[in-house]
């Protein structure tokens, strides 16, 4: 049995006060997912950049929510009643919200709209910090903040409007009979795929860390500096994800309260299956399980669950998580060794690839006819439109605010270079062998 009944694209009935209170409480715990990602981003970087990494998580999230409040929320169209749209072949293609700026009228909005807006605030902060871990040890704080502003002001609102704000992807069901339209209850597309693809664009533009890919031999191993941060971040992220997926099911799929335990169980199962798969793969590949790759696997399972936890049966959730956990360490390895992509946090594989896989899996698991096609159309929009758009915006931004720190700053570490002090002042700084 699915976690919830078949989804309709019809407007939901008015929300009761009990459902409103529960969903609000769930959303107030969702920042634990943000905290988990922040710890993982920091732990997978080097010790000499730890303070800059953690401050960057906070600063990027802060700037993202401010920019989203100023302009992004208007374009997302959550509070608005009008939509900029094309009319092609007798169909309406909503592309951009035209809501009030600065969230004017928030107090008089419906409870559903207010919760949806709160969810989007959490989502935009999360989407903004996902690429930060990929740029660890070389991405300047100012450039990270500028990129967060671009994501929160332009890219995220576009995606949120198309998927959650009644835009053309949400209307695929009504316009073309494709299931219930593109489904993304937890932000697998708007948060994770967007964040992962942004990480790919960033890594392309900023390039690898110095010494990562020497002229001869394999790439240099640059392990994260604190596995405990990373693994504790995984535990924090689980709590955040449980609340995030449950709240998303209520807000975006209009799920009844009876469906929420199933959604939470599927979230847990997906993460557990992914961890088990990654554990087995790394044990087989390297002779011993790899802690940071297992953390990546766990997170990949959680990311996969954001798309399909509310739609899948427990067995399907285990399958989806296991697939994510099996392929994530392999993809991390391919990205680094075969195509020379230096992604310290693994965000491209964990958030990008697993987010896209989760969206595809949701198409297989959803009961409606045509849902798979709707999910594929959404994936095509993310890959074919959002990724080139992010790349273009980041490349232009790089000309204004240089993404990459100068070589001296990279050598002494981002903490000393950008903040004037390290995260661990009592540590003895030793010579880095990768600079030979």
């Amino acid at each position: 049995m699915n976690a919830m009944a078949p989804i309709t694209s019809a407007p939901a009935a008015a929300m009761s006060e009990a459902v409103f209170a529960l969903t609000l409480a769930l959303l107030l715990l969702a920042p634990l997912a943000f905290a988990g990602i922040a710890l993982i981003n920091t732990g997978l970087g080097r010790s000499r950049s730890a303070a800059q990494a953690m401050l960057g998580n906070l600063a990027l999230g802060a700037v993202a929510v401010i920019v989203f409040a100023l302009v992004g929320a208007s374009f997302a169209g959550t509070l608005g009643t009008s939509e900029a749209a094309f009319h092609v072949a007798g169909k309406t293609w909503g592309v951009l919200g035209r809501g009030p700026f600065l969230m004017h009228g928030l107090g008089s909005a419906t409870p559903q709209a207010q919760l949806a807006l709160l969810f989007e605030f959490m989502a935009v902060a999360m989407a903004a910090i996902i690429p930060w871990g990929s740029g660890a040890d070389r991405w300047r704080l100012a450039a990270g903040i500028a990129s967060a502003a671009v994501l929160a002001g332009i890219v995220f609102p576009l995606a949120a409007n198309w998927i959650w704000g009644g835009g053309w992807l949400a209307q695929l069901g009504a316009n073309f009979g494709l299931g219930a339209g593109f489904l993304d209850a937890g932000g697998a597309a708007t948060v994770h795929a967007l964040g992962g693809l942004s990480a790919l664009a960033l890594v392309w533009i900023a390039g690898p860390r110095r010494g990562k890919f020497p002229r001869e031999g394999l790439s240099t191993a640059m392990p994260g500096h604190n596995a405990v941060y990373v693994l504790f971040g995984c535990l924090l992220a689980l709590v955040g994800w449980l609340t995030w997926n449950a709240a998303g099911a209520v807000i975006w799929l209009h799920a009844p309260l009876a469906a929420l335990p199933g959604t939470a169980i599927n979230t847990l199962l997906s993460a557990a299956a992914a961890l088990a798969a990654t554990f087995a793969v790394t044990r087989f590949r390297f002779g011993k399980p790899d802690a940071s790759l297992c953390a990546n696997g766990w997170l990949a399972g959680l990311v996969t669950s954001t798309a399909c936890a509310a739609l899948a049966t427990p067995a399907e959730a285990i399958f989806a998580g296991a697939v994510a956990g099996f392929f994530t360490p392999l993809l991390v390895e391919v990205l680094e060794l075969a195509i020379s992509i230096d992604d310290p946090s693994g965000a491209i594989a964990v958030h990008g690839a697993s987010g896209l896989w989760g969206l595809l899996a949701a198409g297989f698991f959803a009961p409606q006819a045509g849902q798979l096609t709707a999910q594929l159309v959404g994936i095509a929009a993310l890959l074919g439109l959002i990724l080139p758009l992010v790349y273009l915006l980041f490349a232009l931004l790089n000309r204004v605010v240089a993404f990459r720190v100068d070589p001296d700053g990279e050598r002494i570490g981002m903490d000393l270079h950008e903040l004037g002090g390290g995260a661990y002042p009592e540590f003895v700084i030793h010579r880095d062998e990768s600079y030979r």
């Binding site: 392309w204 390039g207 890919f213 195509i339 594929l376 159309v377 890959l383 074919g384 990724l387």
Partner: protein
């Protein structure tokens, strides 16, 4: 080459839109959407190939 790949990807996306408009039959529509994703994947592969840094390089 990297820009060529990034231009092929939107081309694949517009094929997806064409599939929605041109094929009312669900099976043909699904097949065409899958083909458009293959085009996007080819564009992504070209972009990835174009962005691969030379060994020993630290900047793109």
């Amino acid at each position: 080459m990297k820009y060529a790949g990034l231009l092929v990807m939107p081309a694949g996306f517009f094929l997806t839109l064409a599939a929605l408009l041109l094929f009312p039959d669900p099976t043909r529509r699904l097949a065409f959407v899958v083909c458009s994703l293959v085009v996007e994947a080819m564009g992504l592969a070209v972009a990835v190939r174009g962005h691969m840094p030379a060994r020993g390089a630290n900047r793109p």
